[in-house]
């Protein structure tokens, strides 16, 4: 206790040198922020492992290598192009009235000054968010996409699509000036990835055998159960773990006392989302469904991502519950009504709940002087701004990714042949099975 007091006095004295010095010298608070953002970014990196395990677990064994390879490569290619191009478009000098950044491509300062250190720190924290957005798509396009086409797609989302709408919101662009609030990226990250996922799945078309037309014209929808539920569950836990970095470290400062509430709202919304999806599936399908419950956890997490810093724990529970119900309805709607084949429900989780979470700010938001929603006397202003953001980012992401996939389809075909699909992409694309030695029924 005495030691702690000595320490506090030393810190106080140190802090008192002058505010001017603070801005040019790397201070103790900078050091704390560095540790915080570094470890937060490492947690977000773990989400790559989480996505890989969820996506491979919820699809078929014959495509398991292919999916994890896509998850690996979208990070690797994304990191390089986000350094070369993406960062500059997102955080470079603003141009065209808040539409785009235009500097800092291939940025690589070699001095040891504070400015350079903060750039590297911020780049590392941002690249893992860009990679999250990119990797969402692999699940929706699983089990039938050419590997080379996927590699081309992923360069475009990380270099262009994600950074430009990101600039509007986090890079000081036009939406941020209007007061659009997306704390950790329900829109910036998740719905951008979700739109690309939906467009990709739509342009690709469904997996062979997914929608079977009977002679009378009636369509039977076949379910392809995942091949490894424990691995998928591991992925959910890893994603949830990483999400604490995703939401928590989005304070961008280790000395922001708001970190505490964020981790509570994140925990409660994820829990409520899981519970809601479990019971919705239990009532609807008469069984407590595993993949729906897992998507419910993600639904709660995606929904709380935008409002996590400005809502109460009670509101977080409500937001999670709605997210969990919504994801079950969305999976059924996209699968059975739209007849778009999204094997892991990526668009339901990231797009639908990303939109809902963004709007939730305008309803339950209770921040001090910002992001005040309807239920806390803020009127419809914030909700209106949130809707504008949802629509404009949605239009940008949907149109650009649609064009990208249509161009890829015209040039490369985008999709493997029916025979290759039947054999499984592990053999046809990578010439190696995922589970050598195991007896597998590949027709499953």
């Amino acid at each position: 206790m005495r030691k702690k007091m000595v320490m506090v006095m030393i810190l106080f004295l140190c802090m008192g040198i002058s505010l001017f010095a603070q801005e040019v010298e790397y201070t103790a608070m900078d050091a704390l922020d560095m540790v915080w953002l570094f470890l937060g970014a490492a947690l977000v990196f773990v989400m790559q492992a989480g996505f890989a395990m969820v996506e491979t677990g919820l699809t078929r064994a014959k495509n398991a290598t292919n999916i994890v390879m896509k998850n690996l490569m979208d990070f690797c290619l994304g990191a390089i192009v986000y350094w070369a191009i993406g960062w500059g478009l997102m955080y470079g000098r603003d141009a065209l009235g808040g539409l785009i950044g235009t500097s800092d491509f291939f940025k690589a300062p070699m001095d040891a000054g504070r400015e350079s250190a903060l750039f590297y720190r911020d780049w590392f924290f941002q690249v893992v968010f860009a990679a999250t957005s990119a990797t969402i798509v692999s699940g929706a396009m699983a089990e039938r996409t050419q590997f080379k086409s996927y590699l081309i797609y992923t360069c475009f989302i990380s270099a262009l699509i994600y950074p430009i709408s990101g600039h509007w919101i986090w890079g000081g662009g036009w939406l941020s000036k209007l007061g659009f609030h997306d704390f950790a990226g329900s829109t910036v990250v998740h719905s951008v990835g979700g739109w690309a996922a939906l467009m990709g799945a739509w342009v690709l078309g469904p997996r062979e055998g997914k929608y079977l037309k009977a002679p009378g014209g009636r369509v039977t929808v076949k379910a392809f159960p995942g091949h490894n539920i424990p691995l998928a569950m591991l992925g959910i836990f890893l994603l949830w773990f990483g999400w604490y970095g995703f939401n928590g470290a989005s304070t961008l400062s280790g000395s922001d006392s708001g970190i505490a509430r964020i981790c509570v709202t994140t925990t409660l919304a994820a829990s409520a989302g899981t519970i809601a999806a479990l019971f919705t599936s239990w009532i609807w399908f008469k069984k407590p469904d595993a993949s729906m419950s897992m998507n419910g956890a993600l639904a709660g997490l995606v929904a709380i991502t935008a409002p996590c810093a400005v809502v109460s724990p009670g509101a977080a529970v409500v937001i999670g519950l709605i997210g969990g119900i919504l994801v079950v309805l969305a999976v059924e709607f996209i699968d059975k009504v739209l007849k778009i084949d999204d094997p892991v429900g990526a668009s339901s989780v990231h797009l639908v709940c990303g939109i809902f979470g963004t709007l939730a700010v305008g309803i339950w938001g209770n921040g001090e002087g910002m992001a005040v929603g309807i239920l806390h006397g803020g009127g419809f202003h914030q909700l209106g701004v949130q809707m504008l953001g949802v629509l404009s980012v949605g239009a940008w992401a949907a149109v650009t990714s649609l064009v990208l996939f249509l161009v890829l389809k015209a040039i490369t075909g985008l999709r493997v042949s029916p025979k290759e699909e039947m054999m499984g992409l592990d053999i046809t694309e990578h010439k190696a099975e995922a589970y050598t030695g195991f007896q597998i029924f590949s027709n499953m």
Copy 2:
């Protein structure tokens, strides 16, 4: 950004002022503690993934989905009820002379002050401990428990059983006033979960075919080997990783220099426990057994949890070695002598080693002015207090969980039918296999 500037200015103004200010303003030391406890809690959260992988890996493939679903749901339900009820019983205003907390249910302060931030921080750190206690039970009750009954059970342990005895020790209750020392929860967390695990396995009865009576009356004990040892081993590594947060961050402060010794004693005890269990199994069963070695790691970790801050590295090695031997003996005793079927050895690990670790404080304890054990001249006082804690918490947890399981058995039946058990709970409870496409022999 604005918050940071405000903080720096506050620090500047407070320079040379009394420490009184420290108590009302959020200081730099608060920020360090926040980062520390937040990341520590995230590490403890990873233990959920660890338990899920260990439990599913050490049981049969036909119940793999069921087990990971229980592990997911006990966290989710536990988090909600611990926010609603559990926290208030554990850390609320003391009543009945240290028996129970009675305030702060559904606590949700909306101001941005220091007090609120510390509450949220502490709640997040505590909820992951509550969830650890709850999830221990799923392994002991694996492969034969109704899913719905498990969901009911888990609400009770997180809302009532765990928080009340937790109040006695960590909430300022009667045991803490007597000087009971349980640094990170050998008793608070592990033996409470371990008692519930043992009672649950006992009330449920053994899995079908576990104890076969031959005509002469002799009972043959069948072993059901786990279906995925690499996954179980992954779970062990994840648990060990998370345990660094469990023990290390239980300093509750990032500026406590004792963190350093804690991570060393934790590492050495876990290592010694693994080695002891390996060689015990090697000598006894003539093979270096994988599941025993894995349980040995957990045994060392559980045993060092109470004394990690007050023992020397050498004592940690001894405590780990004893824990590792003890867990092998306990598994055999519970399985072969008591004939209670605990599929993963949860009660041996968490109850037996939890008790041992709690008593170890009274033997090897060497803290400054507190928790001094027999071997360091403290006499039998500390050991006596530790025994009192073990007995009273044991009585509370054993009786309440026994009553809970007996009531559940009377109302819901608690257990699935023999036919459902034979088919596997993945199909009967969740209507989906864990490993679709793989050839599995479900009679194994």
Copy 3:
């Protein structure tokens, strides 16, 4: 480094407290360093899980339990002997002119002073590095090594081989005095482990059926594909995650602003390594190979480990690309030309890329006043020193591990019988299958 000095000087000037007082009191900066190194070490610990998953995933199902058991036991035995002996040899009082440390065996201070806390902190951070070096070997010796011989080997590397060359570089020994720069251990950790891996695989001989001699004398090289690619990929992500602690926390201080650049160079080199290995395998073998790509990620990580703090992001990309190409060539060379059977490519990853990364410091190094390479006007001096380090540490590690394995071979046989190898080590060494209930073709 300079920034940190400035900060420390400001602390001294502002406080008016003597240097003496700083050294006896545990300061706020100590607290930040503790949190940083503790969490960094926990991240490095996760690499144990990563290695276990990669090694088991890339080998056959019939040896899966055996491999993960080796990965568990080498950490446990290594931790105990590194506490007993290794630390003292590496960081004890220097003797014989920088050749060896000679104090601090079984070190266990029981006071609560700053010195003791820093020792415990440093030991915890170092033990996970020692364990990384040791565990590299299990992959190269997979599928044919006696379990008991492996346990003996691992005690020697952690107690003697690793600490002595470690003393030369990180313990203040002769190489450090010459200016040898190995920031996070391309040589200290990876190439020492890599040499032991290569010697072990060589002394053991290839797996049964690996090199088949046709009547004409022509040798056919058989590939044994890994049995669980998703699990191996999970291991890669966990290793990469842990590497942020490995490289980042090797600053040894949370207030070093260089942390930021390190995480960027680490990310870019790993990404570039993966991409390079993917395309090298795609061009050479006509397929985007999964195991090569995974090894490419590790190649980039190993190569950037030495120079991560002193190179630019652009240089990191180049180093990663070369590492990724190099690992594919090395795997082919060791497998097809040297005909040494290294089942997971451990020697290619850790030895070849460890050497390359060490030399890279002398080429691309651009540190302030230290580690300046050829491309930045440093001439050949640094490269010469790096080469001397590579050669001397290589000679030490190769000769001692060769002698160790030859002695073990003479005493225990080192290797299991051909029949045991055919049946799989899970059954013969541990009397339990890894995947009970699954239909497995063990001849694969």
